[in-house]
Amino acid sequence: MVPLTHYLALGAILFLIGAAGVLMRRNAIMILLSIELMLNSVNITFVGFARQWADLTGQVFAIFVIAVAACEAAVGLAILISLNRDRQMMNVDEINLLKW
């Protein structure tokens, strides 16, 4: 049987990798994927805790997160496409019309 700490460690590591990816990737789609990674790490954590407490709430939460993540991906990609049509670019460091 896999102990709780393994779930949590996996979740935490994935979360950090996701966060680092969001910070460091130039390409907006990669950032989007990194965000998905963060959300999924949360799911692992939730599921792990749900088993620990023998409480389904954690799993329900994870399902909700998956649903929301799907919506988020849809909206995010739509925004990206609109931006790409407008300015023909995908790199976030070129987007700085609005500042101070």
Binding site: V42, F61, S82
Partner: protein, 492 residues
Amino acid sequence: MTIPFPQIHWAYLLPVLLVVGGAVFVLMWDAFFPQRERSFLVTLTLAVLASALGASLAAQPGSEAASMGGMYLYDGFTRFVFALILLSSFFSVLLSAAQRSLEEVPAGDYLGLILFATSGMMLMAATRSLLMVFVGLEIFSLALYVLAGFLRGQPEGNEAALKYFLLGSFASGFLLYGMALIFGATGSVDLMEIAQRLTTSPPSRSPAFLLGLGFVVVGLGFKVAAAPFYMWTPDVYEGSPTAVTAFMSVGPKVAAFAAFFRLLLAVGPRAGAELDAILWVMAVLTMTAGNVSAIWQSNIKRMLAYSSIAHAGYILVALAAVRRGSDLATGSFLFYMLVYALMNMGAFCVVVAAGARGEERTRIEDYAGLGYTRPALAAAMALFMVSLAGIPPTGGFVAKFYLFSAAVKVGFVWLPVIAVLNSVVSVSYYLRLVVLMYMREPGEAPARPGLLGPGWSYALAALVLAAAGVLNFGIFPSSFFELALRSTLLLN
């Protein structure tokens, strides 16, 4: 095995159902009858919001406040917050109808999104469950991401949408991770149960719980634009259509602050003194960052964005007081939000109304001499600026007074002092606009930009409503403050 059907209080649920139903209807209507007059949908949306407001005012919260096992909670606090959210949506629909650049967009999509966002805010504010907090937050956030970039032809709009989306999702990740940790530490996502478990078997010092609480504070702090999570605000506010900016500056803040209040009321007293320090630092940083940055701005939407950050900082003062267990603080938060909604909406309404077809007046310089070309508009703007600055006899002054005195009451010394000094600083940029309007010759701007189109009546309604409210709450605030105070009675 039978699953018991959860108890549902339909009267309490009605406001949300009305808004969601209205959203679906508006969206569908536009899909099936795209040729209809735009004003029909606007009127319909306004009617939906008004009836939801009526329904929530009519539903007196009783002792049976919780529906569906605490997922939906209808108490006095919810009722007041519903009124605030619906009011701000009402205003933003009026503003949207008045804004020239939004005339060409598909009205059904746009208004539907506004209504969906409204329902998300309502759900987020009316719950005891972290799950619903998350779902509500995402409902309105997703809608707002789209609304921010609704004018697809504008590069600024696209950029605002992307920034808002990326930063918001990132913050959501933290919020979720924090919720997971809290669930892990306490075994529940229901705030009441969490609070109970914290008292019976105190895991309140466990790192998982504290870390989780910290991450949730990050996620909520992002939505209310607290330092150091506020950087998206000016960019997004500047890039979004003005009516959407107005919406964003009030509605989401009310909802996120409401959730913040519920969280702190439940777990705050048992969360240790670190939270005190964190809220303290956040409040000071937020108001200082907002005010200091606002001074330098040359774009009025950006200035108002920083001003809204500063106001979030003032409200964080109330949050810090709530953690110390002050009912007065919750009441003054509600009152502050009410006044803030009116004066901010009013200010944005002037921005909308001052614009002409094709070009908006977003540079502060554009307002030079407005006192001569559009005296009524300038007078209204002056009133809102004076109120935002917290100068009597306007609502802004009274609201600030309540807020800071709540902090004084629970023994904060430096926090209200810093807040007072901050609001003294803020006067300079608010009055700068007033001086510009009255003490400068109008520039080369057209003497009468044509706003006497169909949108004018909407803008006028919003302006009159906001101005009357700001004055009323400045001169006769007592009864509404009592109402706000009573709304907190059934909390906990």
